[in-house]
Symmetry: C2
Subunit: 344 residues, 2 copies
């Protein structure tokens, strides 16, 4: 979710978003990223009742924790003042998580480590609390109230600054033996490919993330002196953002379209590998890059049709996230509902 | 299991192999490959009580079926004559299987299609019968009585003419949404890699199978005029077999050692990808190439240590099959035991 950008908002009062008549129970979901924190109350059908957003004080780990706890508590108070019974808290956080222990080990771009977030949230609210990483949470959100409702075997990919993943098997998040499963951003798809943030070459993340889109667009713009991207950035290709590449591609700019083709075919290769291993019913794309889904989907579906083994890939649908930037918050709430046995 | 080669044996009488005092129940397991068929009786501890082997009449699908049924029936009769109560039949077959329907759709190198093997075996024996593909069966064998006893989350790779896979999650074979999961031989690890039998480039199978070992050895032998492999084949590198590459490598031949290094690093890349996705407790290597495991393992472990993300790979052991060529037969029996609820 790293490419999400919201206006600097501070800690604005929660806003009542929706209310279903007769619904009187809710949970609090919180989505923690390096850029923003979102928290809110979510009912048992996955509707966001009210929400808070704040800019992440990412450079200050203690303030991250206190901001998060304040947002969770004030969301709970606001929901209670609307007459809701608050049942539990779920947190989805960018970072490496020990799920069973409820501990966040570390996060890229956030100055904290070994934070017992689950216990802190339980203590702050006197409610049952649950913690998972942001990609697992977003996958849970799509399963609870998004494009994967009723789909129990799917792979969710979040295409942002990096690539995260959540894998559902038989209706449950798949965590593996130690809890570190589902890192599709770090499967190698080209041993001679570009360098990844993890220090290895040719990871899916290095070739199909928002960062890869921007890098490839910059490279192609430098080769195309007439590119709109040069006009947009005054010739400084380091200023190219994903939004600019989308906008230029919409206007038919060859460099921007070429960057989308590069990302779509890299992503296609990764997705074919995932289909050959997991045989999912659906592959779902979320995160910033997926907002330009229509620029990706034709190339992506063509790549999979051309390069997948038909018997292993033809039955799998590739879909775009239905919840977009809300998937993490709704999914954190889904984990809370599931944690207290409140989901069917 | 395609590189297994046994002497042309016809349908020899079953041989009593072992007998545990007090054990009076058994199942029949059968392992069907393009080269040989093995069938036998297996007790509830995974010991092979008696066994049959025959050369596969692979060019004649009807004779494949009749030979298999004859071997299953005579194994059951022989077990009964030793005083065993025969409980069920399990079949592991090379090919694409519809598990729930008990149907073999098609096999590479065997002239049959759409064979309802499960029903035919049940009718021939009046016993409950079960069918799965050979790699899933071999994985089940290692779990039942091999190196994965007590290990419930592992990836099994069979390194033969091709590469097959079986994935265990929570102690069960993972089949995916439609039943086509676990084809690690066909994940792309190098988009510019050598052509695979499936028509795509750079599949794991094209770079780490027995076939890849022979191809790479031939290429390197042609570049090394002093190679033992040229001596062994009278200079015709098309005659190079996996056994020759092993023998030459044991004697320090650089071309043969280079071929093992190539296979080990390709396999290492594939295994790192599998670790990053599945977080298994163990990765197990079976099939013909694994018989030269000591020639692979040092390079393989080094590759994984150098190229894996430590937090995602350090806890996973890479092990060699304990059952070797018997994994398929024992695993077919394990599926039969499990099918009738006879395994804890």
């Amino acid at each position: 979710m790293g490419v999400d950008r919201i206006p600097e908002s501070g800690l604005a009062p929660a806003t009542l978003v929706s209310r279903i008549v007769g619904e009187d129970e809710c949970v609090i979901g919180a989505d923690l990223g390096g850029t923003k924190i979102a928290a809110g109350a979510v009912d048992s059908r996955g509707a966001i009742i009210l929400r808070h957003e704040a800019t992440s004080p990412a450079a200050d780990g203690e303030r991250m924790v206190s901001t998060l706890m304040e947002m969770i508590s004030s969301s709970a108070d606001a929901a209670r003042s609307e007459g809701f019974n608050v049942m539990a808290v779920g947190i989805g956080a960018a970072g490496f998580i020990l799920h069973d222990d409820g501990i966040l080990i570390e996060s890229p771009n956030i100055a904290w480590s070994d934070v017992p977030l689950r216990r802190l949230a339980a203590e702050a609210t006197s409610l049952p609390a649950f913690l998972d990483n942001d990609a697992n949470a977003a996958a849970a959100g799509e399963h609870f109230a998004g494009v994967c409702q009723g789909v129990d075997d799917f792979v969710y990919l979040t295409l942002g600054t990096g690539i995260g993943g959540g894998i559902f098997i038989n209706g449950k998040i798949y965590r593996g033996y130690r809890g570190t499963a589902a890192e599709p951003g770090h499967i190698t798809i080209d041993p001679e490919g570009p360098l990844c943030g993890c220090g290895r070459k040719g990871c899916l993340e290095a070739m199909a993330s928002g960062t890869a889109l921007e890098r490839e667009a910059a490279r192609l713009a430098e080769e195309n002196p007439g590119s709109l991207l040069l006009e947009m950035t005054g010739g400084d290709t380091e200023l190219i953002t994903g939004e600019m590449v989308s906008a230029a591609a919409e206007r038919g700019d060859p460099a921007a379209l070429g960057a989308f083709t590069y990302v779509a075919s890299s992503l296609g290769l990764g997705i074919v590998n995932l289909m050959h291993l997991f045989d999912p019913e659906m592959v779902v794309l979320g995160g910033g890059v997926s907002r330009s889904g229509h620029l990706l989907m034709d190339e992506l579906n063509k790549y999979v049709a051309d390069h997948g083994i038909p018997a292993l890939t033809e039955g799998t649908t590739i879909a775009l996230s239905a919840l977009g930037g809300d998937a993490g918050l709704v999914g954190a709430a889904a984990m809370a509902w599931e944690g207290i046995g409140g989901l069917a």
